[in-house]
Subunit: 915 residues, 2 copies
């Protein structure tokens, strides 16, 4: 037991700090930290978690010294706040809150406005000049105290909270519907009725002594550590009961105590764009919830942010307070080395900071802030890399409006309004006003913009299917802005000149009426809202990398992207390749920084143009010689595809997988198509149908595919190998340096690989002799069924590389078809059987075990065996972390995910070193 | 290098013995062994493998002492045989044969009749009294010697053997077609031409000196160790080249040297019935091949065997020789303690034994011989168990075709096809193509064979009334094969040359058309399919155990079976259970000695009578309450099934698996059926069709099945648990002692098992309270997907037992659908990728690894975890051996395979101890 039971904070100093979470709980430690660095935090003190333990070990008694310590610290609060607890003129009011080591949101109890009684409430009336506010505080205090401290419960299981019951009754009597419509006398009457029911139920008077209130509230919070909700929550989250909770007692401040009071929220940088500008909103004569609720439109904290809007700003209205806030801003960034989100209250002209935490931001902002902070010397490159969620990079790739399109729209008078730019990107879609409609419209393939006055949690599914989100109320910290940012949606909020009419389903603005279903366009970078459609164009990054319509030097965004990618490339250990089947995809892969192709699916080439006809001819041939004839026609086509890919990929390795899907996937299924095919091939419909029938499979996933095709029809592998090697030799003869890596799919035993490898090597020898060229190439295998992983030691004796096909490996390890899993995926996620869709996030326990077994066994035989992954997981950050930990050499993913993989690989490399 | 290079055998003694295979080769060691135990083996000697090594290390030179040793041993041969090498009156002829440590059949060279020349051939004429025979021997000798020793080869790659060319030409000139039609002068002419071509090609005369012939032949045999064929064979069979071959030089004996010469083959016991009688055939004035060729009808060696046939017998014709043979018979059985098969020749009244080896026998014979030999004190019970191939027990259990009936059918050209022998026995009946028709035909007393391309669960009732089941598709573990075996049906599957046409109701095969209602006969022992009827016989064992139409005491066969089973039961460690779904199957299981039920598939119960209607109602219900209503109707039905099973099984454990197959398997597929269902349920056809559509799966094997059903529809598990526990309680109240073991299928993670286990235990508690009964029961899981094995440590924290479902585990480990594997199974077996169908014989390397991982991890958590297997592998001897080695507690298989499993388990237990 530490000698000190109570830790004070406030007045620019604190007994504790952020490192003392075990003793002070998370909240207490953070308050101490803020106070310690000079934040004007409302003063308070924290009773330690050790007192909680003592309390439980001693039947609800407190340590002997506690009373004295509390009394002392309470006096310090009074000093800092300049108000007395129980004072009848300007009373100090307190909040009493729990605070465990880890957050247990809503599980334990809280009491606010403590210190009010029939006398002090009058002091609050005086101080606030708002009688209704003061009595409402008092009414709420009694209700909260009654519930939490006195334990007033419903009379029966089905019953309601007794205070709520009285409140409802009162509203009926007063003929009003909302709490806020109750008058001062209504509230006073309620207070009396509350006291009366406490008396009649418990036989006691409501305690009027503030100190008695305080001690009882402290005891109630300690007791709430062991309430049912808290116990269940701890069990579910593996939190030890022995930890206990701390109790935080803190002065209350009010932003509605008169004309020189107010409240606001600010970000130390712009959370949407990441720009290094102070950004925030406030309301005078308001409480915290008013800013978020979106009923009144908040004001910008400075002129910069105000822009063209005709609103007052804090720097103008209260320059002194604004200056303090600016100072706090830089103090916070210096201290936390990250963008902070802070809540502040101005009480009678005095600034208080209530909370500060790392601010949520868009992907765009995240990257810009991280890079800027490196440039500012605030953080290291590694730290910058660590801070960015790789998925946020997607926001750099999202389409933007075509500048000319936007100019034209403005010229045509289509600019409807300018709101707050809450989620970058440009989006065009049909106006829909209700979340449910949004879901339905999206289901039938419509692109929609969800337009709301304000959003609420019920709208989340509708928001997730929308191209963009637009609100007329609410600020940068409104629900719409927060959620939109989190989802990475294009989002404009607070476009308050729009008149949104839910009943008629219209928007009125600039004299125009937009109906549901009409097109609008929103620019999440600028906050502009347009009627009609505006053409989008690729993001600046894509314009530089893919379209080459923009010079790297002309795009700040691109330069940020490039810088970040360079840092990531310096840090990562694993290679990053792309899955690409065609020359154009290969070009994209390189643009995104792929160092090779990890999976080229040769079958995709068979669907183009008239190739499918020859391929079908091959399938329908009655014998090997017929098949060979058809394959001969396919040979030059595949060869030219490979040539194209080799030319683009230069000396980078290109992993080419031999034919994988079952043959029936290539045959037509509809009568009309079958008839056309029969005519073209000059054979009977019945014969085609018979072939289709004979190729049908009960479980195609587990059927005649992969190397099983090449084993039954070696001529297919032979043709493919020939196409690869002829193309490679041709490229060499033209001065190129291709590095093909032939990959055999669905291998389950060494002998399967050997049979295919022999064909490949024989053809390679033949072609090299014919062309007089020496090639460097590898022959390897996919590891995508459990048996391959389990016999990897044998397989590695022939394979020159392994590539884990974790899509199939997941299917077989789970006995789970990717195509059918949706039937119960929802139930499985809801019931917590899976914490994520195993096809999205690699299952480390099951599939991961097999991957590790495969790697271990493979390297037993060949210590330097090259190993990669080419399943969808190769582009998913958590799976990439697993690949790093298991010692893979590279990951391969779709070209557009290559930047994500590069960043994730860098994070994984740092993570792995740190362990 | 050993001091002795040449080992003599003959005259009742030998320098070597059977233990000297490394030095003398397999053939030489066996000849020495036979001679050593007094067999009248034609005398000879073996030049050791060490000489071969020396020969290769010294450029084809021999060790210095070799010539002297050979000369000495040759003299010994002459002594024993009473004939001189090179003698012009009755010349000793020699065979020169290779003989390596392990048999390399046909890979190396042999020379026969060595010692003949223009002079000695005349001696052979005198001795045999058969000029044609003598000159044919000479002609063959020159040809063989020319090929092997002189290296006469075809002139070009496409050319023919020069001697064969001359022979063909001679036959043309002589106007004959067969070699045997050539006259003595033809042969003499041939000999001259042979010599001439040798002279013209090689410039040498054919060597006339027998000793020169001998030494050159010895050298040729040593050289043949390094011919291409032999090198390839050794590479394929992992035989080291350093081993070398021995050379066996042995006197030739002739069974056609006059009226007191002959040759024969004998078995020391009857190889068909196993009876302890001397059994054999011989021909006078004949060579070995004449007995086998079947041109002349061989004579029985004794009167006993002659029976009613009007033939001479050896015991009458040559009583002295027969007496010697009888003595040899008992000598051989005393020495080898097993039934022997021997070849003998009588040359001029003197008996020679050429070869003896363990005799092949039928399953019946194998068992009878083993048991008799135990009774005779020749072998131990363990040895008896070890000697019987468990599959041979099938011959004790299955009704079989009358052998003569089958011969006749083949002679008449009625063999239609040969498929896979999936359910042993013989069955004859009328062809029926549809399960419903099968039921109807059976009801009116017809014996039918159900003929399907493939069967599905809907066909079960039709299958159960059929005499036999025949399919054209599917393999040894297809639905038809599985269910057929379990039902004890005669079953042939995968007879893929049959064209089954459901529309015209015909089978086309071998140019015949079989119509519905025509008779066919299928032999489940051989896979043969015949048109027409063939009479069958029931097995005596079945008559005793199942039909109870025969007293155990009246059947010698049954007593043998019983004795063997008792011995096996004494030896085995693992328990043997049966897979049985119904009371009647449970009764069979017990009759065959099952100690419990290892797998009761509850879904099969849903197909009987009107249950399928309620089950479909459950599937089609729009919500949980609708499903519950339908399940309530199924509850009493399942309860009564379980009750029946518990009553029969007594206190033996009964493992009941909760619902496993995907729901779509229960819905109808044809329009007519769907319409009928719609009428019955009073709902729209469209709704049923929509449901069917929504339940369709791309890969049903990997779809919504197993515990995934019970997790999405907990009410199904609940009903099934209730049915089990109510039935068990009822049986307890009637004085029984049931032991249900509830088994959850397709579990892949602990949480799945837990969710289902909670339901089962809750229902168990409820039912026990309601009934006031205490039950002993277990809740466990199948381990049938890789993830379950890989996370078995976690799963074992809840599971009270594991049962390996190796059918599904094989499918997922290989990524291989049981239903689709037939498309490439043949290629895979032919190319040696698999040495057996992995669905028949457990793949130890892949699937076995997972089983071992699962057992190891499971027992890490629960050291005494009960573990069994309930896949088809549970009845397959090699897989049972694996189960024993991996430490399983029991195997479970179809009732009719229980005896096989008992025997195989005993063998495995001995094997495991020996290791």
């Amino acid at each position: 037991m530490s000698r000190q039971n109570v830790y004070f904070f406030g007045g620019g100093k604190a007994d504790g700090n952020a490192g003392m979470k075990d003793l002070l709980g998370g909240k207490g430690a953070n308050l101490a930290e803020m106070a310690g660095i000079g934040m004007p935090v409302p003063a308070g003190f924290t009773i330690t978690t050790e007192v909680c333990t003592w309390f439980y070990e001693n039947n609800g008694e407190y340590p002997p010294s506690l009373q004295e310590e509390v009394t002392g610290k309470l006096a310090s609060i009074e000093d800092v706040m300049g108000a007395k607890f129980g004072d009848v003129n300007a009373p100090l009011l307190l909040s009493i809150r729990s605070g465990a080591r880890v957050s247990m949101p809503g599980m334990m109890d809280t009491v606010l406005n403590l210190g009010l009684n029939d006398d002090t409430v009058k002091g609050l009336v005086k101080a606030s000049g708002d009688e209704r506010f003061a009595y409402d505080c008092y009414r709420r205090f009694i209700q909260m105290y009654g519930d939490v401290v006195l334990g007033m419960k419903p009379e029966s299981k089905e019953g309601r909270d007794p205070f709520e019951e009285i409140l409802e009754q009162k509203k009926v009597e007063a003929g009003v519907e909302q709490d806020v419509e109750l008058s001062v006398s209504d509230l006073k009457d309620l207070i009396e009725r509350y006291k009366a029911i406490i008396k009649s139920r418990l036989g006691i008077d409501f305690p009027v002594d503030p100190l008695e209130q305080l001690w009882k509230a402290i005891g109630a919070v300690f007791n709430s550590w062991h309430n049912d909700r808290a116990i269940t929550y701890r069990r579910l989250n593996d939190i030890p009961g022995a930890w206990g909770t701390a109790v935080n007692v803190q002065a209350m401040v009010f932003g509605n105590l008169g004309d020189d009071s107010g409240t606001g929220v600010a970000f130390t940088r712009d959370p949407a764009t990441g720009k290094n500008v102070f950004y925030g909103e406030y309301l005078m004569k308001a409480q915290g919830e008013d800013v978020v609720a979106g009923i009144r439109t908040p004001q910008p904290i400075n002129r910069l942010q105000k822009g063209e809007r005709d609103l007052p700003s804090l720097d103008v209205e209260m320059p002194g307070v604004y200056l303090s806030l600016e100072k706090i801003r830089s103090q916070l960034e210096d201290h936390y080395s990250d963008m902070q989100d802070l809540e502040f209250t101005i009480q009678n002209g005095r600034l208080w900071v209530l909370q500060t935490r790392t601010g949520k931001r868009t992907g765009f902002a995240a990257i810009r802030i991280a890079i800027d902070m490196v440039r500012e010397g605030k953080i290291s490159r590694e730290e910058a890399i660590r801070r960015i969620d790789p998925e946020q990079l997607n926001q750099f790739l999202r389409p933007v409006f075509d500048p000319n399109g936007k100019k034209k729209a403005i010229a045509e008078g289509n600019l409807l309004a300018t709101g707050i730019n809450a989620g970058p990107g440009g989006a065009t879609g049909k106006v829909v006003f209700h979340a449910e409609d949004a879901e339905e419209w999206a289901r039938r393939g419509e692109k929609i913009i969800l337009v709301r006055i304000e959003t609420s949690p019920e709208d989340i599914r509708g928001m997730s299917v929308a191209e963009g989100i637009l609100t007329s109320a609410g600020g940068a910290t409104s629900h719409a802005a927060l959620v939109g940012r989190q989802m990475g949606k294009v989002c404009v909020v607070g476009a308050n000149t729009l008149k949104i009419d839910y009943r008629n389903r219209t928007i009125e603005a600039e004299g125009k009426t937009i109906n549901e279903g009409d097109f609008i366009s929103i620019d999440g970078m600028t906050g502009e809202v347009f009627s009609g459609q505006i053409e989008t164009r690729p993001s600046e990054v894509l314009q530089v990398l893919i379209d080459k319509t923009l010079e790297a030097g002309d795009s700040e965004t691109y330069r940020d992207y490039e810088e970040l990618m360079n840092w990531a490339d310096d840090i990562r250990r694993m290679g990053v390749r792309a899955n690409a089947d065609r020359p154009d995809q290969s070009a994209h892969a390189i643009a995104f920084g792929a160092e090779g192709i990890g999976l080229c699916r040769t079958e995709h080439m068979f669907f183009e143009g008239d190739r499918i006809d020859y391929f079908r001819q091959m399938i329908l041939a009655p014998d090997e010689s017929g098949r060979k004839k058809a394959l001969e026609k396919l040979l030059p086509m595949q060869r030219s595809d490979f040539r194209g890919i080799f030319e683009i990929m230069g000396e980078r390795p290109v992993t080419i997988r031999t034919l994988d899907p079952p043959l029936h996937e290539f045959l037509p299924h509809e009568d009309k198509e079958i008839e056309a095919l029969a005519r073209m091939m000059g054979i009977k419909v019945a014969i085609i149908k018979e072939k289709i029938e004979s190729l049908k499979e009960s479980n195609p996933m587990l059927g005649h595919r992969g190397c099983r095709l090449g084993i039954v029809y070696p001529e297919i592998t032979e043709m493919q190998a020939r196409a690869v090697f002829e193309a490679a030799c041709d490229v060499v003869m033209d001065g190129g340096d291709p590095h093909p890596e032939i990959m055999i799919p669905l291998v389950g035993s060494l002998s399967e690989l050997k049979l295919q490898e022999e064909i490949v090597r024989r053809v390679a020898d033949e072609v090299q002799k014919e062309k007089g060229v020496n090639l460097e190439f590898l022959v390897g295998t996919m590891i995508e069924i459990p048996r391959a992983a389990l016999t990897a030691d044998e397989i590695a004796s022939t394979a020159e590389f392994f590539s884990f096909g974790t899509n199939d490996l997941t299917q077989t390890t789970f006995g789970l078809s990717r195509d059918d899993a949706s039937k119960f995926l929802g139930d499985y996620l809801a019931k917590g059987i899976w914490d994520a869709d195993p096809f999205q996030k690699l299952d480390r326990q099951g599939v991961g075990s097999l991957v590790r077994i495969g790697i271990e066994k493979g390297r037993e035989t060949k210590p330097d065996l090259k190993i990669g992954i080419c399943g969808e997981h190769g582009g998913e950050p958590s799976s990439i972390e697993f690949c790093e930990k298991s010692g893979m050499d590279y990951v391969s993913c779709s070209p557009f995910r290559v930047p994500i993989a590069r960043l994730a690989a860098a994070q994984a490399a740092m993570e792995n070193v740190n362990e």
